[in-house]
Symmetry: C2
Subunit: 352 residues, 2 copies
Amino acid sequence: MELAERKLKILNAVIKNYLETGEPVGSRTISKYTDLNLSSATIRNEMADLEEMGYIVQPHTSSGRIPTDMGYRLYVDNLMREKETELNKKERELNEVQEFLNDKVEKVEELLQNTAKLLANNTNYATMITTPINHRGRRLKFIQLSLFEENKLLCVIVAEGNIIKNRIITLKETIDNETVLKLNIIFNTSLNGLSLEEMNIGLISKMTGQAAEHMQLVRDIIDVVGLALADEDDFKVYTSGTTNIFKYPELSESSTASEIINTFEEKNLLTNLLVDKEDSSQNKEVIQVYIGNETSVQSMKDCSVVTATYEIEEGVTGTIGIVGPKRMDYEKVVEALKAVKSQLDDRFKKHD
Amino acid sequence: MELAERKLKILNAVIKNYLETGEPVGSRTISKYTDLNLSSATIRNEMADLEEMGYIVQPHTSSGRIPTDMGYRLYVDNLMREKETELNKKERELNEVQEFLNDKVEKVEELLQNTAKLLANNTNYATMITTPINHRGRRLKFIQLSLFEENKLLCVIVAEGNIIKNRIITLKETIDNETVLKLNIIFNTSLNGLSLEEMNIGLISKMTGQAAEHMQLVRDIIDVVGLALADEDDFKVYTSGTTNIFKYPELSESSTASEIINTFEEKNLLTNLLVDKEDSSQNKEVIQVYIGNETSVQSMKDCSVVTATYEIEEGVTGTIGIVGPKRMDYEKVVEALKAVKSQLDDRFKKHD
DNA sequence: TGTTAGCACTCACTCGATAAGAGTGCTAAT
DNA sequence: ATTAGCACTCTTATCGAGTGAGTGCTAACA
């Protein structure tokens, strides 16, 4: 069934009003604060239709209407206008972000944490942001072995994208510095540019051949390198503004709040909010909105989650997420996410 | 004024009972569930005295009594018995901890996070734990420079205690591998074993003398090393079980809970809970209890904080903390902290 | 045929009154 | 010194009445 123009306008008005107030909205309100010039009785008829179609409901007989998940969906997909009229405001926000992000933040960790905080403060919702990860297998760029103690070998492993990992190998045999130098050369000439999968048996036997006396050590090092490349211990989720959810009565009830906050504390639960959409990779560009049960994370069933993917280079992406009540200000959130996303993209590219 | 034996017993009974139930406790309850064999009327008289002395109060006229902060203090300092009778139970817990901590946890980060979680699950309070930090200035143990890109120099800095940091210096001039080798030798012979303060002007000029063409670079590297040694970016606070506070009605009210959880989210606020006692270093061995306003962190005024310091080697310590309602089970908490502390101490010493 | 005025009805919410229950302080008796 | 007894206080739960927002439906209207 096609929705008539007028119905859409009314639905839009209902949702807009509900987003602001959080109270069920009645026919009289719509009739007054809308340019439709219709009496409340007419609005009532239309609202009854909209209810029958599933876009709005009454919390109890004879109260105003609130949007259903389906109603929100329609709003987000078709009704919502991004506030492109308020260009100056948008630009102001952009500048603020820009200024903030350019400010003496050297470490990625700090940058991301600050971004989350900025976003939380500006939106009044809970936010999260992941470190960027490489979806294609990581390649080894450089390796440096050094003997820094009698029997301890430090392996510094630099992967593509200048991701640096340190591993310490405790030696069973003693080796001299000359050997270390030799190993360095062997490893850097043989392994560089290879991904985990490409380090195969043939290669290993060839390398152990070059350093016959230290077969075992070479194997150990390759193992360590392999594990280090595969290891995603540098994948982290930063959160901020968790307690913002207390600003929304519908989420403040102790059991609800507890579940949500718990999800934010258990970072691995949080990633579920962010990964499932990696699969549906139709368009990473776009900002995704998950309403209520659409999130597949049970504890978020009363929330909406809006995510954006930022990409610091081909195939290396991270996710930014905002969690709030279903009646969140989608326009503002989408706008803010776009601003932060684009700044983040730029920022990384500059520094690369 | 000295407290008579009987008053102490009654106070103890009041507090014990309140810890369990969270409800104001009346004279009748005490009279029945205590071996004093006194009527409720007598208890009432004694309780009136105890109230006058400031150990207990009535939330409103004609209700039972609850302990004041002063009452809790007396309890913690003098009345509380550690459950040494229940040796088997204690031992069981110890074993559980031990088993848990020995289980395939390689990285410190994971170990600490797991410890926090274990403690939170066992106590039903919110927990936190800091990484160990060195209170004496850190010394440089080893440095490794390598050119891993045309104009990018990787500095791997190993400090005492095998704390490893990576820094990347973007070069203004180009240098060859030979120079890097030379620099490595200069740095390792000149700087090793020195703390930040000992890297003085004289030393720097001597070093730039040895590598005359690269004065600026040498200075830059020394700067980077200095910053890296001073930088405590590896100081982290891990938390767990924040949402446990919802299990206690007196903390569940949205505004109270929000403040507490917010403090847990802002890790730097949390450190305030843990550092102020570093000063009063009389006895690090002992477990510290902060009741209500004693914590100096405003948001924790309705909570008690119990902390323990673990030491992985002379001068390198971290802190474990438990936050709960003032009516927390102090005995259990102290016991649990002791168990975890000792396990943690051992664990690190073993691996060193 | 679409729109509107009018009206009866529903439901949540507030407020006050009432009753029950837990606990106290005080007095007088033991 | 201890205790029984009693009047008193304060909280909490429950109930009913009153109010207000909002609806659905019907009948009149353009």
